[in-house]
Every structure is written in structure tokens, then in C-alpha cells.
Assembly symmetry: C2
């Protein structure tokens, strides 16, 4: 089975969860990329209905999302949490609307393509109404790994993340700022969006714990990477850590290959790749940093060097804006790829 209905050239687009950090970024990306929408709907919970959001020089009035919201919609970008995505899946797809879902609800379902357009846009051909947008920290890693595996097969990846507050939503970004000020001013702190204080701290837990001692975020980076790259046995070791940074995720990668890959060849391949920018000049102390890349679209790579602790290894540092390539931009790129089919 696959989706019979073709996407019109100028589709009606809905953003579900439009008032959230990712939802608002989705509207910004649609506008900035001049997505050829016939119309854009901003959907959210009843609580947010009636609010207005900026779009294309005007304001969109937020509508309450109901089962009837999708009657005339061609593509719906969902970022309202896994529960909401599950709740509305049937209403969306039975209306003939394609759901591009930023939540983790359907990512590992066999009939749901998990897509990073630079890596596996071909997967879109087999969708049945739902396409999943991967986890933010997974996206920026696979964009880079996909370029590198063209040079030699990848045998293992060890990755440590330095993840921004934005991955936990707008409230978490606000908490980072407010809590930091409270701390500097000597006021008492009461963590809410995070389990622990995030100001001037690192929290080595993102999402819930699984029985094997890993977190769900770490598990996602393993299983989603395998699915997107089409390498079900790929060895991936992950540690996910929240750091007091606003909206770009950073990752330290140690990549092992089946054969030799020179730093020069890797740099050339990354330089030529779509969606990747190499920012790597030790002499001028140039490398990607999360605070300097807010609002950018590419996956930025720096600190590229040989890893001589294995026969064939490279180490690098990858930064991307969690709200852009890690979420909103990738979802819009999927919608663009559907248009182009």
C-alpha cells in the first residue's frame, strides 16, 4: 500500500502546534523559503485559539485543532507532542491529508518513512499518509554520516551530545533564561521544565530512562540512525546531555570506518555536500559553536581530525540549530520533496 493522492502544486498547509517553539519556527521557515502554499492554517489547542501569529507580513489567527480541521488541508506539519499526533492521525489521513510528524509517535513504525531529505528522500515514495521527522540530535548526525559513508563503510559511531534547551520546548528555553537570572540574583530556584537545575549545569538525562540504563533519547539516536541510513546493524554508542545553551545542539563524534578515509577527503566531501557547512580553521580558532549558529539551516562541521585510536577513524564536532534543521526546517524540506515528486 502507498498513498494514492498526488500533492497539488500549491497545497493548503496546516501547522499543528503552531504556538510552540517548533510550530512558530515552522511558520517562519515556510515564509522564508517561500513555500508555495495556497493557504496556511495555524492550529493549536483550544487554549491558544484566537491568538495571532506573524506570517508573511500579516497575522494568522490560531484555530482550535479538531477532527474537522483537515478537510481541505493537503499537508499538516505536526509538532504538538506524540499524544496529539496519535490522537489526530486517523482524522488527518482519512481526510486525504499527509501528516509530517515531528513527534516520536510513529518514527519506528514499518509503514512510516523516517526522512532526512539529504539522506533518504527516496523513502517518501512509500508513505501511506504519515511521514516522520526524526529526532533533532539524530538529524544533524545522519546528514554528516551519510556524506562520510560514501568514502568508506561506517562500522561504528560514538557520539556525545551537548543539547540545547529548545529541544524541550519554549518553556524550557524560558526556564534556562529565567533560572540563570534567578541564580545570578541569588533567588531560590524551582526546576519545572527540567528535572534538575539547568543554569550553569549539565544534565546527563534527556527523555525517560529505559530498562538497559540508556535514556529514550539515546535509544532514539541509535534506532533512528539505523532506520534513516538503512543500516539495521550499525553500531552506535550514544550519551545525551542537556547543556545550558539556548537552541543549537552540538555533538562530538568519533566515527570508525571499514577502510581508510583521510581528513582531506572527508573535508572535501563535507564541503561539497548539500546541507553541510565546514567551519574548520584551527589557526583562526574557527569551529562551529551553538551560540553563533542560531537561526541557521545547515549542519556545521568542525574539529575534523584523524582518530588514531582505531585503524580508520575520524573525529569531528557537529552543530545545528535544533529548531531549524533539527525540527521545523527538516519537516518543511520533506513537504517540499513531496511537492517535487
Amino acid at each position: 500500500m502507498s498513498w494514492g493522492r498526488a500533492m497539488p502544486d500549491r497545497p493548503v498547509v496546516a501547522v499543528a502546534g503552531a504556538t510552540g517553539a517548533v510550530g512558530r519556527e515552522m511558520l517562519a521557515v515556510l515564509e522564508q523559503r517561500a513555500f508555495p502554499a495556497a493557504r496556511v492554517l495555524a492550529l493549536a489547542s483550544a487554549r491558544s485559539a484566537g491568538r495571532t501569529l506573524p506570517y508573511a507580513g500579516g497575522r494568522l489567527t490560531v484555530e482550535e485543532m479538531t477532527g474537522e480541521s483537515f478537510a481541505d488541508v493537503d499537508v499538516a506539519l505536526f509538532s504538538a507532542g506524540a499524544g496529539i499526533s496519535r490522537q489526530f492521525r486517523e482524522a488527518v489521513t482519512s481526510a486525504g491529508c499527509v501528516m509530517i510528524d515531528n513527534s516520536s509517535a510513529f518514527r519506528m513504525d514499518d509503514d512510516v518513512p523516517l526522512v532526512v531529505p539529504e539522506v533518504n528522500a527516496a523513502e517518501l515514495a512509500r508513505h501511506c499518509g504519515v511521514i516522520a521527522n526524526p529526532n533533532c540530535s539524530t538529524i544533524q548526525m545522519v546528514v554528516v554520516l551519510d556524506v562520510l559513508r560514501r568514502l568508506a563503510p561506517i562500522t561504528r559511531v560514538v557520539v556525545s551530545t551537548y543539547q540545547a534547551a529548545s529541544g524541550a520546548g519554549q518553556a524550557a528555553m524560558d526556564e534556562l533564561h529565567g533560572q540563570t537570572r534567578d541564580l545570578l540574583d541569588g533567588r531560590d530556584l524551582t526546576p519545572s521544565a527540567f528535572a534538575h537545575r539547568i543554569a550553569f549545569n549539565c544534565i546527563p538525562q534527556i527523555d525517560v530512562f529505559l530498562d538497559d540504563g540508556s535514556t529514550k533519547e539515546e535509544w532514539k539516536m541509535v534506532v533512528e540512525t539505523r532506520k534513516i541510513m538503512g543500516e539495521p546493524g550499525m553500531a552506535v554508542a550514544v550519551t545525551c546531555v542537556r547543556v545550558p545553551v539556548l537552541r543549537c545542539h552540538s555533538e562530538a563524534l568519533a566515527v570508525e570506518f571499514a577502510g581508510p578515509v583521510s581528513v582531506e577527503d572527508a573535508a572535501r566531501a563535507l564541503n561539497e555536500a548539500t546541507g553541510v557547512t565546514l567551519l574548520d580553521d584551527p589557526v583562526s580558532q574557527t569551529y562551529p559553536m551553538p551560540a553563533m549558529l542560531e537561526g541557521t539551516d545547515d549542519c556545521y562541521v568542525g574539529r575534523l581530525r584523524a582518530d588514531v585510536s582505531v585503524p580508520h577513524g575520524l573525529q569531528m564536532w557537529v552543530v545545528a540549530d535544533q529548531l531549524r534543521k533539527g525540527a521545523a526546517l527538516n519537516a518543511v524540506q520533506i513537504a517540499e520533496a513531496l511537492l517535487g515528486r
Copy 2:
């Protein structure tokens, strides 16, 4: 050749660089551990002479450090930078005083033991007047690795660090605080202690770059780990990153072994080890975090779990106070070990 002179039971101690972040912590550690000093001298540059520092309920007057400062001193704890250590080495040792040096000046010299007492206190027997205190991020890693290698030989370690501002000194700690407030208040920022803005950022560079694309901090973690552990061929892959945290370093470790090591056995060994505290309870979201461990002495381990991406692997998260075990405490522990000989 080795050092002929025995350490008196109640030695005269000098702290060289007493006004710095590590120097002041050295004084605090000497006091807190009731180090049996006959007398403690606070030495610093002419600029700081005459200042007073708290010690043992009173105040020490800072004296200008000169070649004559060490005439009656038995042990000098140096933390004034590699240049100062090189400049004063001859004056210190020719006065019959043992130099315990926190700088990187002599760490890799063949005739200088590089000591973490929990790991290689026996090395102290061969000192010739100078003993080097290792790099902060190295110390907390080798304390843990030394415990684990008793279970099976370690074949490789991949480590990513999350290093605090304190590693760059008091001015860097002040810069983190002041710059964060400036940023929240919308004022212009001018980085000084760091090459780039540190507030709400991660800087993937610590110390200078080497020709192979690694930083000197990363190189230190490789070569110092090998020297301390007495394993010259040990495979270690390192990425060192500065994060906006005040004074505890964190490290994500992926450790590979030559044979099976269960999580249970590793946890038991770490629990029983001197200088290590296991803080690891996913159910209660308990794990080491840098903001919560300021002023502590142990190396804290959490997030201990199997790494199934290799035949025999463990992953973990290690946090220690950079100014305590990473610097001042380890130096004082070396002095205590000399007393005990």
C-alpha cells in the same frame, strides 16, 4: 638518581600562586584535611604581595616569590603557570624542597612522576625533587579507569569532556558570571579569558591547537593517561569542550575491554574504590551533575551501562570538582603520600 632527603613529619609548606583559584583551594584543602604543616607560606607575584588570604582561622600575608623563598620550605605546591614553574624549579629543588607542580611544564619528563595517588602512588619513590600533578580532566578519568581495568584490560577509551570555566582560572570563572549577566541585560560582550563567548555556548577548544588538529588539552588527556596508568600504547580518543559551568568537569566515557565486564561488577568495584562515589539511580533521576558537586572531593560516576556497540563495553558519566580532585586536592594528596613514606 632519586631524592635523598626525607620529608619531616611536620613540613614547612609553600603554596606558589596562592592568590589564584587553585592556590586558594590548596590553602582550603590543607586546612580542611589538617595537613600537619609546621608553617604555611603563601607565595605569589610582587603584584599580590601584602594581600592576605584566610587560613586556619587567621590570615596569611602573601609574600613575593623569589629564588630565596624556598630556603626553609620542605614542600612547595605550585600553581602559577608552566612558565613560573620552569623559572623556579632549580631554586626550589636546590634548596632541598620538593616541588609538586600543577602546571603542564614537567608532566611528560621521564624523571618526573605524574601522580594520582589512588592510581600510581608507588611512582613517588623515584622522584628527583619534582612531582607533577596531572591535567584536571585526566585525573578524574584515570581514577575511574584504574578501578575498571582491574576487572579486564582496557583496550580503548572514547571520551568527550564538558569542562568548567574554573579550568581556565579565576578570571574565566568571573567572565562566565559577568558575561552571562551582560548577555541577559543586553549589553555588549568582549570575551577575554576565552577566545569566544562562553555564556550559553560551548567552545570545542581548550588550550592551543597542535599540528594534527587536536588541541593540547586533548593531547594531554591521551599522553598523561598512558603515563599515569603505565600503559604506553593505550588507545584514547578525546574531544575537549568548554561549557558554561563554574567549577566541575563532566566526562562522557565509552570504555572498551579485552573481556567481559558486567555493569554489576563495575558498579561493585566503583562502589568499593577509594576516591570514587557511585551516584547512579535512574528511577530517582540520580546521576552526577557539575552544579551539585562543587566543593566535593570524589570522582562521581553515574549513567553506568553496557555499551552493546562493541563486544565488551561500558559507558558512564564522570563528574569531579576541577579545583579539588582536578587540582588542589590531588596536589595535597601527593604531599600527604610523601609524608607517609
